[in-house]
């Protein structure tokens, strides 16, 4: 495995720091060589900034990639949005000489240049490819006997012309690394549908975005699970903070705990709910937290 730099993005460090610390604990336990990426910015978020001006989106994204090029490390994301931005920007700039020259003219104003020397990785595909479900199972010290509703999130697998991670309708790689923790990934209706947050819809049209979220939450509730597991902090926020927004609007209280995969894996590697910041979510179902605290007893 190539050495990595950890790209945090916005939502993890600035809203869900539990995911940040959970990631560090998991990477250290799995003996994955990583460092912080000092001075990184917003990826920038694809739904909004790519919509507004593609050159700006590419220029800011390429600065983040160049920071990792300077460290001679592949860049690791924990977010589908950051993955979409950085991976799509890297491939667009590598394939199109004219575009790369245009973007490099903007980077020149800060004395930097995009060279396309590093790869962009997402934690879910990285763990599947580099360690594999068996490798993860070997590291698990506390198998989790829980039922989870898995949410891939759109930009982990789509557009498939860029991602090439297998089927976009019925992918399995994320299920496989979730089940490696001992958890059971439960099938539910419209499992692959969108959380509703992307494309700038959450910021401009919150009610619309919450309609899509509530559709997923009601299907997940019907499947009877202990928690939702995602691999993207923006989907995570939409499901977690979104449940509070929905409660205010409709008085419907789903009360479904939401974990990033790093937090689920952290539990299976022996860390506690508090060490992983799972208690810092908006939805804090005490019954679930107690069940996870009791795993050792």
């Amino acid at each position: 495995m190539e050495k990595l730099s950890l790209f945090l993005g916005c939502v993890i460090p600035n809203r869900y720091p539990g995911i940040e610390i959970a990631t560090k604990l998991c990477l250290e336990t799995l003996e994955i060589d990583y460092v912080d990426l000092p001075g990184a910015s917003c990826c920038p978020a694809p739904g909004v900034f790519r919509s507004f001006d593609r050159t700006t989106w590419l220029a800011v994204a390429s600065r983040n990639i160049v920071l990792s090029e300077e460290l001679e490390r592949d860049i690791l994301t924990l977010c589908n949005g950051c993955y979409g931005t950085l991976a799509d920007a890297a491939s667009a700039l590598s394939e199109d000489d004219t575009l790369r020259k245009e973007v490099n003219r903007h980077l020149e104003t800060i004395g930097k240049e995009f060279n396309g020397t590093v790869n962009v990785r997402h934690i879910a595909e990285l763990l599947y490819d580099e360690i594999g479900p068996e490798g993860i199972r070997d590291k698990v010290t506390r198998p989790l006997d829980i039922r989870v509703a898995l949410h891939y999130g759109c930009h982990l697998v789509k557009p498939s012309k860029e991602r090439q991670l297998g089927s976009v309708e019925w992918p399995t790689f994320f299920d496989e690394i979730v089940e490696a923790t001992g958890a059971h990934s439960v099938d539910y209706q419209d499992k692959m549908s969108c959380c509703g947050a992307g494309g700038g819809v959450r910021s401009a049209l919150l009610d619309t975005s919450l309609s899509m979220t509530e559709h997923k939450l009601s299907n997940i509730k019907a499947a009877g699970v202990d928690c939702i597991v995602d691999a993207c902090p923006f989907c995570h926020m939409q499901f977690d903070a979104g449940q509070v927004d929905i409660r205010k609007r409709t008085e419907q209280d789903y009360n479904i705990p939401v974990l990033h995969y790093m937090q689920l894996l952290g539990l299976a590697l022996g860390f506690t709910v508090r060490e992983l910041g799972i208690n810092m979510n908006y939805v804090t179902d005490q019954e679930f937290l107690d069940k996870m605290e009791d795993l050792d007893r």
Binding site: L8, S41, S51, F52, D53, R54, T56, T109, K158, S160
Partner: protein, 141 residues
């Protein structure tokens, strides 16, 4: 543009007036599409593009239409605000007091090792944004 797989696959279209097929058909003949609010109801989930039997890059087309709209000055206030956050902080979702406390409680530095901790890095981002004309693009005037 005749099968309708796109609009049938659209999760937003279940709840909103967004009809992807109609939107793109309209875009071929009517500049008024730039003011159509359904243009901003797409979550860019890519279902339509993945399933299109004709292989039309539908989401890419929606993004291009949005870009034209923004360059014509047509933009949601909330999108101007998130742009202003990027320009001021280098993060579209910047830190707040509540999260700084959470970070300390869990054993992290109150500010993450991003542009939030490195003022010179923030200046670099701001320089790039100015170089691209982004400040001007998203300003109210």
């Amino acid at each position: 543009m005749k099968y309708g797989v796109c609009s049938g696959s659209c999760p937003s279209g279940r709840y909103t007036s967004l009809n992807v097929r109609r939107l793109l058909r309209r875009a071929r003949r009517d500049p008024g599409v730039l003011r159509d609010d359904t243009l901003w109801m797409c979550t860019t989930c890519y279902n339509c593009q993945e399933r299109c039997p004709r292989g039309i890059n539908i989401v890419d087309a929606i993004l291009k239409l949005r870009t034209i709209a923004v360059h014509e000055g047509i933009m949601h206030d909330s999108h101007r605000k998130v742009s202003a956050l990027l320009i001021e902080h280098g993060h579209a979702v910047p830190i707040n007091e509540e999260t700084m406390k959470k970070r300390k409680d869990i054993g992290l530095e109150p500010l993450p090792p991003t542009v939030h901790s490195y003022p010179k890095a923030l200046e670099e981002v701001q320089t790039i944004l100015r170089s691209c004309g982004f400040d001007e693009l998203v300003s109210e005037d």
